[in-house]
């Protein structure tokens, strides 16, 4: 549980310190003209960004708990590590490139280069789909070599962690598909830009999660 505890400690400390800083020296019962003028929003960002950040905290909690369970279960005697297919390195490459492509698209979108955005979106999406396809092939390789889900907890965790990560990426691709359609056929460039900004964050997050998971699988 150490992993989860560290993550939660970080997040709870961040939340509480931030809230305390907002509240520590305030005497709310004293009338305060400065407070009267304060806008209600606590953070100078778009609400959707806050929503996404909150969701990323939830998703991180989920992955941290899976990792905790992994490390706890690993200590049992029947743990037999499984070989990581080399394909995973290639898949990692796809995901890194997808993330880079999204970052580039984001830069184009902010500058308003709509045609570059269209291309950038397509490239990011295709790279992400290649990652997913690569993961599926890795699954097939492993099960072809006799490493089934139920034959050992190490295998079970491998399939489970990659599946959960893949499902998160699929969710991202749904949003990607919507913004791509809008970028190619729509008119609302403002909405597309926001969507790209959020997706970029999300893709970086999923890349980070994948690097951590892959590192964990390699290290054990």
């Amino acid at each position: 549980m150490t992993v989860t505890l560290i993550f939660l400690a970080v997040i709870m400390v961040t939340v509480i310190v931030w809230l305390l800083r907002q509240t520590l020296n305030v005497q709310p019962w004293v009338s305060d003209a400065a407070a009267d003028a304060v806008s209600g929003a606590s953070l100078p960002t778009h609400t959707k960004t806050i929503g996404l950040t909150t969701f990323l905290a939830v998703a991180t909690s989920l992955f941290a708990l899976f990792v905790s369970a992994y490390t706890l279960r690993m200590q049992m005697v029947d743990w037999r590590p499984l070989p990581e297919p080399n394909l995973l390195w290639i898949n990692t490459g796809f995901l890194v490139l997808a993330s880079v492509a999204y970052q580039w698209t984001r830069g184009r979108a902010i500058k308003g280069h709509n045609s570059a955005v269209k291309i950038g979106l397509l490239v990011s999406g295709i790279l992400s789909i290649l990652f997913l396809v690569g993961q599926l092939i890795a699954w097939r390789e492993l099960s072809g070599a006799g490493y089934y889900l139920s034959s050992n907890p190490a295998n079970a965790f491998f399939y489970l962690l990659t599946a959960v990560h893949g499902i998160h990426l699929l969710g991202g691709l749904y949003v990607w598909a919507r913004s791509t359609v809008k970028a190619w056929f729509g008119v609302d460039t403002e909405a597309v830009r926001l969507s790209i900004e959020l997706c970029t964050v999300y893709w970086h997050f999923l890349l980070l999660v994948w690097v951590v998971l892959f590192g964990l699988l390699l290290a054990t």
Binding site: L8, M12, D36, I50, L149
Partner: protein
């Protein structure tokens, strides 16, 4: 992105007024309608769970008298009662119901920031309830694994519902967690970003603080339940061995090997303990507002109350293993978890002191919501203090898994929050419906519920001292229990039936008051918070008419010296307070 001024933020949200009955009341994106939908469904399943508890009490009070309550059924009732009450009633009602209704109104916003997601949240919740209830009707019936669903027993032979019931339970929980996450993202973001001008964090009513912190806890803790549910599903369906060691079932070796049931317990309680506070923190917040309003006094030590909520929220993640003192985990953990558990008592006790001190030197109007709120203080003190027994690792040894535990958590997590639920419903009923409830019926409901529940759970602690184990379908004859213990059980059953019947007074009151209650003004209690300052009662879609409110003071300006009225709404600027003619005689 550039900072957007508050006036512009009002346009970030789109508010198409719903046109048809369907979009207004069914596929509604209005937080108030969603809140009511959540509330109605939660109370409906709560009634089912209450019925199950009556069945259990009948068996315990009068063993072997009812042909319809077989041991399988009993364990199914235990499981479903627990899970429904904790998750599908209390969590859903406090956050989906009260949270949805109060956050936008108390913060001065037009709606939740993601109304569509909010609507989806309700429909996922309803789906999870339907899946859960469906498990009664599948072959083998609902799962009888106890609400903690501990493996291996939850998915091994010898437990009712091991084929379908457990699958539906885990599936339903997964759907519920998705629903909760969609709602939770809304609550957090709305509190952070959609407050009206002048509503600084420290001007927020404690209800919002409680719900806000509870939502953060829920968002971080529910994944633990999801993780354990997914892993258990895999153990059940594809025979992985996450939690399942090599075991024998019905005389045969199963193919599992090496898994560890303790891992599940860690994951479950990593969710399960914060879950206690997911229910308790909103209750803390709501009761604070009810007490302040009806005592005509500011909440005492507001800042301490806020920090206590933050401290409790933070600490609630490092106490989980106090549910596992006798689970066989490394016994040295006991030192750490006993310490953290008793430390959490300090901020909790401070909250209790501050509630009592809020009444001190107040001007207490004992209306129905206030009765419930004060009764909550009483039961919560009782439940909190018994928690100090169970949290202290060595005292837990004799008491763990006995009726003392059952009595403790019902007092602190059942009776107390439910009293707050009623305090809240009676308090905001005039705002939600525009009608006053019937005061006499409300009082009957209060007295029967309060005295009835206390006479169930006070004696129950003593069965625990005696050593009566929980989750026993029948005690039978034992060497060490006096026969009078059974008489006590029968008495508790009678009390439970009275309490259950009393809830129909409440339902009747709601229906009668809705149809023919006296029309309520916009602010019948003389409250300061924003929800009572809406232009319409009940508030219309968008809440605030043409322009958003502006806040000029904290939420607790009651009986401010030198002001004419004994309350000053948050929207009144300093320059507009009627000053001077202060008739009132201040106590002392």
């Amino acid at each position: 992105m550039a900072y957007v001024a508050i006036a512009d933020r009002d346009h970030e949200q789109e508010h198409h007024d719903p046109q048809t009955f369907i979009t207004k009341y069914v596929w509604s994106q209005d937080h108030k309608v969603i809140a009511i939908q959540y509330g109605v469904v939660a109370i409906f399943v709560g009634l089912i769970a209450m019925g199950l508890s009556v069945m259990m009490r009948l068996q315990l009070g009068f063993p072997d008298s009812f042909e319809l309550i077989r041991p399988e059924n009993y364990y199914q009732f235990v499981t479903m009662h627990g899970m429904i009450m904790v998750v599908y009633l209390l969590t859903a009602l406090f956050l989906g119901g009260f949270g949805n209704y109060l956050i936008p109104l108390m913060c001065g916003s037009r709606d939740m920031v993601f109304p569509f997601l909010n609507m989806l949240s309700f429909w996922f919740y309803l789906l999870s309830v339907i899946i859960l209830l469906a498990s009664f009707f599948v072959p083998g019936g609902a799962t009888g694994a106890g609400w903690t669903l501990y493996p291996p027993q939850a998915i091994a032979a010898g437990t009712p519902g091991v084929d379908w019931g457990i699958l539906l339970m885990l599936g339903s929980l997964a759907v519920f967690i998705v629903a909760f996450t969609m709602g939770g993202l809304n609550y957090v973001t709305t509190v952070l970003q959609a407050r009206c001008k002048g509503m600084t964090l420290m001007r927020m009513p404690l209800s919002v603080w409680g719900i806000f912190m509870a939502t953060i806890l829920g968002l971080l803790a529910f994944p633990a339940l999801l993780v354990s549910a997914v892993m258990m599903l895999l153990d059940k369906l594809v025979l992985t061995s996450f939690f399942m060691p090599a075991i024998i079932s019905a005389g045969e070796q199963l193919s599992y090997s090496g898994g560890t049931p303790i891992l599940f317990q860690h994951l479950f309680w990593f969710f399960g303990h914060p879950e206690v506070y997911i229910v308790a923190l909103p209750a803390f917040g709501i009761v604070s507002d009810v007490l302040a309003t009806h005592a005509r006094k500011n909440i005492f030590g507001y800042r301490m109350m806020v920090w206590a909520i933050l401290a409790i929220g933070g600490l609630s993640f490092i106490v989980w293993a106090h549910h596992m003192y006798v689970s066989g985990m490394n016994p040295y953990f006991g030192f750490f978890f006993a310490t953290t558990t008793l430390v959490i008592a300090v901020p909790t006790a401070l909250k209790v002191y501050n509630w009592v001190l809020t009444l001190w030197q107040g001007n207490i109007h004992l209306r129905v919501p206030m009765l419930f709120a004060i009764a909550f203080i009483f039961t919560f003190i009782h439940g909190g203090l018994t928690g100090l027994f169970l949290g202290n690792v060595v005292v837990d040894l004799p008491l763990s898994d006995t009726y003392f535990v059952v009595a403790h958590f019902h007092m602190v997590m059942g009776v107390s929050p439910v009293l707050v639920v009623f305090a809240g419903i009676y308090h905001w009923f005039p705002k939600i419906t525009g009608k006053m409830f019937n005061e006499t019926l409300g009082r009957w409901h209060f007295w029967l519920t309060f005295l009835g529940t206390y006479s169930i759970y006070l004696p129950m602690h003593y069965l625990g001292f005696l050593g009566v184990p929980r989750r026993y379908y029948a005690m039978g004859n034992t060497d060490f229990m006096p026969a009078s213990a059974q008489t006590l059980n029968a008495t508790m059953t009678v009390a439970a039936i009275i309490v259950a019947l009393a809830q129909f007074i409440f339902l009747y009151n709601v229906i009668v008051s809705l149809r023919s209650g006296k029309k309520a003004g916009s602010n019948p209690w003389g409250a300061t918070t924003l929800e009572w300052q809406t232009p319409d009662t009940p508030p219309k879609h968008g809440n605030w008419g043409h322009s958003l409110p502006e806040v000029h003071r904290w939420a607790y300006d009651y009986s401010v010296p030198g002001q004419e009225q004994d309350f000053t709404p948050q929207t009144v600027p300093a320059s507009e307070v009627p000053v001077g003619r202060d008739h009132g005689v201040t106590h002392e």
